[in-house]
């Protein structure tokens, strides 16, 4: 419902966009083209199952394709003019544009009358825009991209592959690294080196991704600061047409190193510190003393007893990291020029391609909710104390 309101109120007219995609005759036929596109998109149907409008309104005003004209007629209808004048204006409006002189005359007479009206109820049945929007959504169609006329789902689907590749990469990389660092930190909790690393991690957590990424691009992908710093391939993905997406993704793998590193640094710092704290908490509990008294070494106590229990609270973080990584993809993908979902969203908003934006919006919301659900299920799986009612 919110989605529908959103898609109707975005600042771009879908019919204009459709005309722009088609091209067609530039002069003369413009208005005709527009009207045809308007009808094709079903914008002439009523908005909702019913409507509550002033009694002077016709069944639906959406049959009039011009937006400015619709607005003018709306004003006229509630101005208290006699019905015959308005009907006359309305019938002419459907075929051609209201002439401004006549409008002026109508307005002048409108000022004299009272403008009283009362509500009237219309029932439209299922042939309305809301119903059609929902049914097309359930059929998996978000409409066409305003830029190139392709299906929005296809455009987003292509971008999703790149994003999920980077996302999964940084998720795996950050969790494995964080696990190792956190474990090491907890093991050497008293040493100065571990304390120093802990502080460094705390500082790393505050580094803005886009700064880090920009610096990396400047220093490590160009020759400007000596050729020895030019370690990584320059930014931008080579998309070779004709090959399958998987081979394209794999052939570009070296270019993913920097984005994955930038995207996961903050997550690593955060999780490693959380794990350290969690393990140290566990180490104070009585069962650790029992484990020691059995004659186990410190390494074994940490790995077999403390670590599994310390991983509990990290489950929620693991799940929470998924939407975070999707959010972070915008900046990373824009800087490293990767045709993923974040960059697509950024570009689509720039050119007001709302069908694609809306498709991304729904997909991201879906992934987020799914990841929370996954978190709950996993939590119940590892913790037998929790049972779903």
């Amino acid at each position: 419902m919110i989605g529908f309101l959103f898609s109707r109120n975005v600042p771009q007219d879908p019919a204009t966009a459709l005309v722009n995609i088609r091209g067609g005759e530039r002069d003369g036929g413009q208005e005709k083209n527009y009207a045809a596109a308007y009808k094709e998109l079903g914008l002439d149907k009523p908005d909702f199952y019913f409507s509550l409008v002033p009694h002077t309104y016709p069944r639906t005003l959406n049959v009039i394709s011009s937006k400015t004209e619709r607005k003018k007629i709306k004003q006229l209808l509630t101005s208290g003019l006699s019905y015959s004048i308005i009907e006359q204006a309305l019938s002419s409006a459907e075929s051609e544009y209201l002439r401004s002189t006549r409008l002026q005359a109508l307005k002048a007479s409108a000022r004299k009358s009272s403008g009283f009206f009362f509500p009237k109820f219309y029932w439209h049945g299922s042939d309305n825009q809301y119903h059609h929007w929902w049914s097309s959504l359930l059929r998996g169609s978000f409409g066409k991209s305003y830029v190139n006329g392709k299906e929005a789902t296809a455009v987003v689907g292509k971008a999703l592959i790149w994003t999920s590749y980077i996302g999964l990469g940084s998720l795996l990389f950050s969790f494995i690294t964080a696990l190792l660092i956190g474990f090491w930190l907890a093991k050497h909790a008293e040493s100065r080196r571990a304390e120093l690393l802990n502080t460094i991690l705390y500082i790393l957590f505050s580094i803005p991704i886009f700064w880090l990424a920009t610096m990396m691009v400047i220093y490590f992908t160009t020759d400007d600061y000596g050729s020895w710093t030019n370690i990584f391939p320059s930014v931008g993905i080579e998309v070779q047409p004709g090959k399958s997406t998987l081979t394209q993704v794999l052939s570009n793998t070296p270019k993913f190193i920097l984005p994955i590193f930038c995207g996961s640094l903050a997550t690593i710092a955060f999780i490693a510190r959380m794990l350290r704290k969690s393990i140290l908490n566990e180490m104070q509990l009585p069962y650790i003393v029992t484990a020691y008294s059995k004659g186990l070494s410190q390494q074994e106590v940490l790995r077999r007893h403390a670590l599994p229990n310390a991983l509990f609270p990290l489950l929620t973080i693991f799940v929470g990291a998924i939407p975070l990584i999707i959010g972070g993809s915008v900046v990373v993908e824009v800087i490293f020029n990767i045709p993923g979902m974040g960059r697509l969203l950024y570009n689509s908003i720039g050119v007001a391609d709302w069908n694609v934006v809306f498709c991304i919006l729904m997909l991201t919301g879906f992934i987020t909710i799914l990841s929370y659900l996954l978190g709950d299920v996993l939590y119940a799986y590892v913790n037998p104390k929790i049972r779903f009612a």
């Binding site: 600042p11 803005p208 700064w211 600061y225 972070g328 950024y346 908003i349 991304i360 991201t364």
Partner: protein, 374 residues
């Protein structure tokens, strides 16, 4: 006064570095005009005393850095901090270099600080206000707190709907009357509401449920996505819009913390005794609940500052934030992306963002330790 404030701040356990950082941020944010300005601050002789053009003013007090953020120095384009500069004296040196238009980087950073300061402060004020309002609704009023007799509620809703109809379609006076009718109806229902009666012919408006659903809607999307979409809907990003957007994205965090705290406090005995004394709902909330429930809000606000600054600079960096003619940390960093050889354009603004974010994160951590009683 100052000493008392300092003592209070020390009590929270802030280190000197944190305090210096905070005062620098606020000071530069407030007085950027005095620090970097191409005009003379105070001029002796001449008609105009304050902020006079250098050419007119023969003697006077100049600013610390003789460049404004937008001053173009055609002779020194793209010069680094350590490279040769064509300036008349050390006073006119560009200490941190210039960009490709010859604008002084240090002056730009100072201007950026003031923008970050203003935006984060105003955005957080708005965020806290929205957050407390919804916290009051969902935590204190809750699902059962607003209970109205069925007849009154239904009549009120019908009247409001009719008034809303005239508000949408009417003009001038009709609209005014409709607005008044809606306000009066809501106020009347508010007066008639009573949380104590649990009779069968009264209905409650589940404010807690509604607020939580609203928050879930907001939280289903990553912050950056939400901000991008809101910017697209506002069409044009300006100072006010950015503040509004940040507040819209950040308020659920404050509300959630406040709600949890209020729900805990609501069942305490001293609140019940205040109710028994006949104090009004709002007064109990203002005098007895809010002072005790505010600590998580303060912590969340400190972290909120850092995320507001991050969001603002990210938006400027992407080129959809504050209008381009304004120099901010994000826009300088953005220009570095097209100018690989000028490392200073990438390094210094990023460093400023990083230090500020670090400052507010550490303040937040310190405060949360303090409130937990460490």
């Amino acid at each position: 006064m100052h000493r008392a404030m300092l003592r209070q701040l020390k009590k929270y356990g802030f280190s000197s570095a944190q305090l210096i950082g905070l005062f620098l941020f606020i000071g530069v944010g407030l007085f950027h005009y005095l620090l970097a300005n191409e005009k003379c601050l105070v001029c002796f002789g001449g008609d105009k005393i304050f902020l006079t053009e250098k050419a007119i003013c023969s003697s006077g007090i100049p600013a610390l850095i003789p460049y404004s953020a937008s001053t173009l120095d055609a002779k020194n384009r793209d010069v680094g901090p350590f490279s040769e500069q064509q300036v008349s004296s050390t006073y006119y040196r560009h200490w941190l270099g210039t960009d490709s238009l010859g604008r002084d980087l240090l002056a730009g950073l100072i201007h950026g600080t003031s923008i970050a300061f203003k935006i984060s402060l105003l955005a957080m004020l708005l965020t806290v206000m929205i957050g407390i309002f919804f916290g009051y609704l969902s935590g204190y009023i809750g699902d059962e707190g607003f209970r109205v007799e069925r007849g009154i509620l239904l009549t009120g809703i019908v009247i409001s709907c009719i008034a809303l109809f005239y508000l949408v379609y009417g003009h001038g006076l009709t609209r005014l009357i409709a607005t008044l009718v809606i306000l009066v109806t809501i106020a009347f229902m508010g007066i008639k509401s009573d949380s104590t009666q649990h009779s069968k012919n009264s209905w409650a408006i589940p404010f807690d449920l509604l607020t939580m659903r609203l928050i879930e809607t907001f939280k289903a999307l990553p912050d950056v996505f939400l901000v991008l979409i809101l910017i697209g809907m506002f069409r044009k990003a300006n100072f006010t819009n950015i503040i509004l957007i940040i507040a819209l994205v950040r308020w659920p965090t404050i509300t959630r913390y406040l709600r949890a705290e209020i729900i805990k406090l609501k069942e305490e005995d001293f609140i019940r005794s205040a109710q028994a004394l006949g104090l009004s709902k709002f007064r109990i909330f203002k005098d007895h609940i809010l002072p005790l429930a505010i600590s998580p809000v303060i912590v969340a606000t400190a972290f909120g500052f850092s995320s507001a600054i991050l969001l603002e600079s990210t938006l400027s960096f992407l080129g959809i934030g504050i209008p381009l003619d304004q120099v901010t940390w994000g826009t300088i960093l953005k220009s570095a992306r097209y100018n690989f050889s000028s490392w200073w354009l990438a390094f210094f603004p990023g460093l400023m963002i990083f230090l500020t974010v670090l400052l507010f994160n550490s303040l937040g951590d310190r405060l949360s330790d303090y409130f937990r009683g460490e």
